[in-house]
């Protein structure tokens, strides 16, 4: 029953969809492109030779790697527990885990100071244990874990939930205990989804700025990660700030690409069974 105006309407709608997609791509790509236009490859390489930039990049790599390791080690079992059992207040727990996703980083920084800072609610306990976080590299890691853990745990929870129950039951029927099922069956099957979560969490950690500045401060070689160094250089040396930004874009892109490749392009939250 499609008349001529109907056909025109659907063509116009298709054109609208295409126009929106082009707008989205152009808008998202333009700032990233501009960074590379402003910093020729030779400038990139010389920027890497500057001690402040090098220190900041190394510190970013180091702190994000530690943060991701912590998130994987603690977040994976936590997500497994949430996905495989019915717990009291399950939804409340999931919401709590997701809260840092929507929290402004400055709020995260203030919260961390109020909780773990020298005058925070458990600051006294920490200092009696000689654990110092504020102004320390360890504090950067704490801030990164706080802001990026939800990205991984949420994704891991969804991936575990999407697993075919019968496969897990078969594993149990064949005599495998839960740790074996988790390690040998669930993790390999859920791997694509877990890797996507890992990439999102790592990317968020690499870009972290506000919470780090407020909680850990900014000092070259100790707490000044790459985003903090970029902000610092913005006022003095814009080409250097652009070059460091370009390196960060490249590093993030490589990271995302590698992990997507390892995950064989599985759609987030829908790990394919093989």
């Amino acid at each position: 029953m499609r008349s001529a105006p109907g056909a025109w309407c659907s063509r116009a709608f298709a054109a609208l969809l295409a126009a929106c997609l082009v707008a989205v791509l152009a808008f998202l790509a333009l700032p990233i492109l501009a960074i590379f236009v402003h910093s020729p490859p030779s400038r990139l390489i010389s920027a890497l030779g500057e001690p402040t930039a090098r220190k900041a990049l190394l510190l970013s790599l180091e702190t994000t790697a530690i943060a991701i390791a912590v998130i994987l080690a603690v977040g994976t079992p936590a997500a497994w527990l949430l996905a495989t059992r019915t717990l009291p207040a399950q939804n409340a727990m999931l919401t709590l885990i997701e809260l840092p996703l929507v929290l402004p980083p400055a709020v995260a920084g203030i919260g961390l100071l109020a909780a773990l800072g020298p005058e925070g609610i458990i600051g006294g306990v920490l200092s009696s244990l000689h654990i110092e976080l504020v102004l320390q590299t360890a504090g950067v890691v704490v801030a990164l874990v706080f802001v990026s853990a939800p990205f991984y745990i949420r994704q891991a929870h969804a991936s575990f939930l999407a697993l075919d129950r019968s496969v897990l039951e078969a594993s149990a029927d064949l005599g495998a205990r839960e740790p074996t099922t988790l390690l040998r069956v669930a993790l390999p099957i859920a791997r694509p989804g877990l890797l996507v979560g890992l990439a999102l969490a790592w990317g968020r950690a690499l870009g972290e700025f506000g919470a780090t500045l407020m909680f850990a401060g900014s000092f070259a070689g100790v707490t000044q990660t790459a985003p903090l160094a970029i902000y610092d250089q913005f006022a003095t040396d814009l080409p250097a700030a652009l070059a460091l930004s370009a390196v960060l874009v490249a590093a993030s892109a490589v990271l995302l690409g590698a992990i997507k490749l390892a995950g064989r392009g599985a759609a987030p939250g829908l790990p394919a069974l093989r």
Binding site: G117, G123, L135, L213, M214, G217, S218, D232, A235
Partner: protein
């Protein structure tokens, strides 16, 4: 799509357009809005000054003066730029980005500590384990701090420099770290300590170390609110702005700007 649904969609879009129109209307009132980029240390005094202005509205962007100057170099065009030094406005004037700057206030650099601190002098800063927050090398408060440290003996300077553990992009960050007890001491302006309302204490620096803290302000070139911008600056030199600056603890402009 049924007629009813389409109707609802259209109604929603129309409502959205109305809201957007209303919001746009808010900005388009008869009073011109002056955009002012100002040093973070001016926050309290400038906000109080804005309350007294009858024939203009002002919108502030407070941050480290160096970041604000960098924005202007990158093409951001506020109507007025107020800096915690004279170097940045002069540099922008040399590049013909702002009109000739004037010095409108002075300030004092102090050693700031949380109320009830055990630190009472510069010498205490050299003690091992003391943590100090300063501004970055390019934000005025950090540059003034460098001047102070540069006037100490090399041995004293080295001992204090060893305890610097945090370089903040503006005074706000230093105030925050001090009031949360994250650092033991920091270098701030006397007005920042006053604005912290009892949470912080100021320790005066010996006069021989005190840098010449002078605030420069300039109309940004190409502004369409030139008259209001000049009126705003005039009020800081004599009028309500001057009163608010004095109330906040700012000093008269130093004679050797």
């Amino acid at each position: 799509m049924t007629r009813g649904r389409r109707g609802r969609l259209l109604a929603a879009l129309a409502a959205l357009a109305l809201v957007a129109g209303a919001l746009a209307g808010c900005g388009g009132s008869s009073k011109p809005e002056l955009k002012i980029s100002a040093a973070a240390s001016l926050t309290k005094a400038f906000n109080a000054y804005a309350q007294t202005l009858k024939n203009m509205k002002v919108a502030y962007s407070f941050a480290g003066s160096d970041a604000l100057a960098a924005q202007i170099e990158q093409g951001v065009r506020p109507d007025v730029f107020a800096s915690a030094n004279t170097k940045l406005p002069s540099a922008l004037y040399a590049k013909q980005l702002v009109e000739k700057p004037v010095v409108f206030a002075g300030n004092k650099l102090v050693l700031a500590v949380p109320a009830g601190s055990h630190i009472h002098s510069l010498e205490d800063l050299a003690k091992p384990g003391t943590t100090i927050a300063v501004g970055t090398a390019t934000v005025p408060v950090g540059a003034y701090t460098e001047t102070v440290l540069g006037r100490l003996s090399p041995a004293e300077k080295a001992q204090i420099a060893k305890n610097i553990r945090d370089r903040e992009p503006s005074v706000d960050g230093i105030v925050g770290k001090l009031s949360e007890g994250a650092v033991d001491a920091g270098f701030l302006y006397a007005t920042d300590v006053k604005a912290a309302a009892g949470k912080l204490e100021a320790i005066d620096l010996p006069p021989s170390l005190q840098p010449n803290v002078a605030y420069g302000i300039a109309v940004v070139k190409g502004t369409s609110h030139g008259a209001q911008a000049r009126e705003f600056i005039a009020g800081l030199l004599q009028g309500a702005g001057l009163q608010e600056l004095a109330k906040a603890g700012f000093l008269p402009p130093p004679s050797t700007g």
